[in-house]
Amino acid sequence: MTVVIRECAAALVHVPSFVRYGSKPMRDLSESPALLHDVHQALRSFEQAAAYPPNQVFIGNLRPDDLLGLAQPWHANPLGEPRRHGPFGEILPEDEFYGWLKIADACHIVALEHSFVGRIRDALAHHPLTGEDDLKKLGAGVPAEELRQDLGDGSALPLTHRGQVIGALKGAHERDDALKAEVLMENLVAKASGALGLRHLLKRAGITPQDVDFILECSETAIGDRYNRGGGSLSKAIGEMCGCVNATGHDVRAFCASPINALVSAAALVEAGIHRNVAVVGGGCQAKIGMKYAAHLKHGMPILEDVLGAVAFLVTRDDGASPRIRLDSIGKHEIGAGSSQQALMTALVVKPLARIGLKMMDVDKYATELHNPEVTLPAGSGNTPYTNYKIMASLAALNREIDKTEIETFVKQRGMPGYCPTQGHIPAAVCYLPHACDAMKQGTMSRAMFIAKGSLFLGRMSQSSDGMSFILEANAG
């Protein structure tokens, strides 16, 4: 097998002012507008979000297992210094992200007030991943009076920063629900954050945008209009924003498993010789921002779902150094496999390992859904990574690879604490890829397995679940 993951990038965008436009908060606020005060009181500053240990794991300043040695709750025990930059990317502040949204705005749906643009222009000009072309797209902003007119009929979303209205995000068609402001916000957020991830990837890989010849986008949003609600090709829009003039692409959709599916497809394209440098890119999910805000408020916690995630991966031919994808044993959850956890894990873990003569104990680390338990436990949603690892360990015990008494040891050694924001496709195993690739290049890890499950039933077209997995191995050189 001759395909590798040559480079990875992982970035976060801190967007406290976007919490009010997350799907759950927005619905609740429309019924109880007075809640907005409580929401505002529980929002974190950039410094707090950047000093939050799980966020530092995401961008690579800490490893996931480092969280085991830190005092909990993590939100009440910040790291000494907030760090914006990390080996895998950065945590972008909200005001600059508004600039990225405007740069991403190819169809004039975003208006930023003139003085706000003046305040962020310098920061954007000095960002290592922006250029003159971006500053032209940022423009000079609009006068306050024009902004008031944009917001006048209530169809546009007010964009705020630190409690002040600084812009508007407009709908694109008054009689098309697929183009209303709330939907376009989700899509533009995925585009702009995806572009941030892709630019970090290109820099880390040391390649130019022109070197990319295909892009697979792997978020869960749908790009289209009333006649083509999921038409797609956010991939091409992101590539255009990043100057990938020799590329086109398409969007891969498999619910949370999208990134794994996209990586497998990318590997197949490279293996077949159709493309050389395939970028897999997934921006953040605006809809999931603040999803569990009510539980956080109830427990007197800050609202932790205030960050968008972005991941990007470069898949290429074997370069003799980067970790290899075992294309001879991809795991898939077949339609006829059954939906029990046992059937899922057997299809996604046991079978692909057995196909190449391996057992569960031959994998150094498993990456599964890595949702931050500090976000999910207060809402009664459990500790997803821990539950998944317990199931895997139990499967190993059922298959007599380990004794029942060794289940917790398996979980600790081959699993990891969750740390990823609850952004759907982002925590679905792939957020660990940058860590695994680094460990393999440094010679401290031989083999990792990436498993993602997709909640296909949510779309009401099937009651089935879904999933895909792959094995990654250190390059023997």
Binding site: A294, K298, Q341, Q342, G380, G382, T387, A393, S394
Partner: protein, 109 residues
Amino acid sequence: MDPASQAHIKKIAESDGLPKDQIIVLLGASDIEGAEISAETVTFGDPSYTGPLAGVPLGLPVYHILEPALRPFIPEDVYDANLGIWTMAADTEEIGRRFQAIREKVANG
């Protein structure tokens, strides 16, 4: 428990002609604390006060599928295929104790 499920259970429990002793609620949440919240929802009312069962004590008998007491009612091959893994991954004895305690609390008013 999500509002839609609460509404569904409330509708069944309050439908005419369906005797209360013909209904049980069977839960399957892997997270024991989450399962307990769901159990309280269908017995004493939604403790989070966010759904239709807020303040509505249905008093329904509630069980968890992993309780050891239920195992004899399920064919062994079906149990092994669908739940076998959970007998190792979850503390089924503890789940049984907690749900029995909830049923006793309901019975004692």
